[in-house]
């Protein structure tokens, strides 16, 4: 069993065979950095719990394609802030399947949004002048139909 410590002090136990779905953890184990426990200062407890839920399910139900598909669909039904936290965690922990799933989910959620809504989600301040933006929208009329 491997012990993981989240940034806010929560402790989680997980089987090594499951934990190595994270390439980051796998390398730490291989480099013998995992004697007692592995500190994960970039992931908070709530997010780490969710990530572990994902990798546990994907380890135990490995061949059940249909089951995993419906699990994944339910798994991403979280608020957007949590979704971004999971993306950052999946990136840091290098879990490709989870990163693909969450990035695709965000892509599907934003693809039909307006420009203003996307700015809000990514916390972006518009740096075009009104004239520049108007011209750009005009040049891209095909994208706004």
């Amino acid at each position: 069993m491997i012990v993981l410590n989240s940034s806010d002090g929560a402790t989680f136990e997980v089987e090594e065979s499951v934990a190595v779905q994270s390439q980051t953890i796998k390398h730490m184990i291989e480099d013998n950095c995992a004697d007692t426990s592995i500190p994960l200062p970039n992931v908070n407890g709530v997010t780490l719990a969710r990530v572990l839920e994902y990798i546990k399910k994907h380890a135990e139900a490995k061949d059940d394609e249909e089951g995993l598909k419906s699990f994944d669909a339910e798994f991403v039904k979280v608020d957007q802030a949590s979704l971004f936290e999971i993306i950052l965690a999946a990136n840091y922990l290098d879990i490709k399947g989870l990163l693909d799933l969450t990035c695709q989910t965000v892509a599907d959620q934003i693809k039909d949004l307006t420009v203003e809504e996307v700015r809000a989600i990514f916390n972006i301040m518009n740096d075009f002048t009104p004239e520049e933006e108007a011209k750009l929208r005009n040049d891209h009329a095909w994208a706004f139909e």
């Binding site: 950052l88 959620q109 996307v118 916390n123 518009n126």
Partner: protein, 384 residues
């Protein structure tokens, strides 16, 4: 432009930062997954997004991620109401596995009326590649020049390309479009036959990046230039030697050389080549009741040619095979008047009359959506 209705938990909060700072490589990962229209729209979000989303490297990566069987068709037709001039139309199939749902028809309105300028009687769509479509205006009469337009029907961008100075006037000509991945260049290959003075076929190649034409040595056989397929870095044609032997010839766009492609054994008269889901296909026979199609499942392996038959009940005329739709549907163009989507697994079909069209569906081909910019590839030689 109406905002999509977001689920309550996903509503962006205007003031607070909803998302912690996402590193750029993750933002890029997310953006690469978007369809072309969303990417065009989001170029307006921020200056750095505009640069990123217009970067040729991003566009190429996007193309690689989204390369799949054509989901759209493009063709010429005329409108049902006078003045019924010819225009270019696109047809988007909604979901392939939703029988009965109609396709969406759209007239392509470019900033220049291409068909008027090409003496539209003689213009045709000759090929598509990576989301680009080539329109070629044939010179069938003395005094007309060839014209070529390379269009991206998704972004509405197009360029007019210089005619080949190497082809004499009033010579029959066909064309094809392909991508040279080694040089990141799009190439147009025209095939002309200077009958009756010569039996030979001449092949000329135009490179988009260099803006120049080059003649490849004349070939000692006839290429059937009405039927070309770009696949695996090469343009393929049906060919016939003087003795009447059939073959398939591939013109590799990187080394610009011809290579033969093994064809199935047996006696048959090939009618047409097609690209079915990335496999080279050859239509060999058509009767009132069925169409025989050979598909090369593994490119270059002669033994991998597999024959299958598509029933074509009561279709009197040649069914043009257009493209694959989804995994197992074949789109047929019946007499240029209606489309039939035939499901290969279940052997069922649905007819699709294209409403909103007055005339025939001419030069119908499939294409996929992409952001590839013809102007970008011509920038070294083209006056802006």
């Amino acid at each position: 432009m109406s905002p999509k209705k977001l689920h309550q938990s996903q509503m962006p909060v205007a003031k607070a930062a909803l998302a912690p700072n996402i590193p750029e490589e993750l933002t890029v990962d997310i953006l690469l997954r978007l369809p072309p229209k969303s990417i065009g729209k989001f170029r307006c979000v921020l200056k750095s997004w505009r640069s990123l989303l217009s970067d040729p490297l991003f566009i190429t990566a996007h193309l690689t991620l989204h390369l799949h069987y054509p989901q759209k068709l493009i063709f010429f037709s005329s409108s049902p109401v006078p003045p019924s001039s010819r225009s270019i139309y696109t047809l988007t199939f909604t979901t392939a596995d939703n029988p009965g749902s109609e396709a969406v028809l759209q007239k392509l309105t470019l900033s220049e009326n291409i068909l008027e300028n090409t003496s539209s009687k003689y213009a045709s769509i000759v090929g598509s590649c990576n989301g680009l479509v080539l329109v070629l205006g044939f010179r069938m009469e003395i005094g007309f020049r060839d014209t070529m337009y390379l269009i991206n029907p998704t972004t509405m961008e197009f360029v007019k390309l210089p005619a080949s100075p190497l082809v004499r006037e009033a010579v029959r000509i066909g064309g094809a479009l392909g991508y040279d991945s080694s040089n990141d260049d799009y190439k147009i290959v025209t095939v002309s036959c200077d009958e009756p003075t010569s039996n030979e076929t001449s092949v000329d190649v135009f490179s988009l990046r260099s803006g120049s034409w080059k003649r490849i040595n004349s070939l000692p056989y006839h290429l059937d230039f009405r039927s070309s397929v770009f696949l695996n870095g090469a343009i393929h044609w049906l060919a016939r030697s003087d003795s009447g032997d059939h073959s398939v010839i591939a013109f590799d766009l990187t080394c610009e050389k011809f290579n033969p492609v093994p064809i199935p054994r047996g006696e048959f008269d090939p009618l047409k080549l097609a690209d079915l889901g990335g496999c080279l296909a050859m239509v060999v026979k058509q009767t009132f009741h069925q169409m025989d199609i050979w598909m090369m499942q593994e490119y270059g392996i002669g033994e991998s040619w597999t024959k299958f038959s598509v029933p074509t009940p009561n279709y009197f005329y040649f069914n043009d095979i257009v493209c694959l739709l989804g995994d197992d549907n074949v789109v047929l163009n019946v007499k240029d008047q209606k489309l039939v989507v035939h499901n290969l697994t279940e052997n069922t079909r649905r007819d699709m009359v294209v409403a909103g069209i007055g005339g025939h569906l001419r030069y119908l081909i499939g294409f996929s959506e992409s952001l590839v910019s013809p102007i970008y590839y011509c920038q070294n030689w083209r006056a802006t």
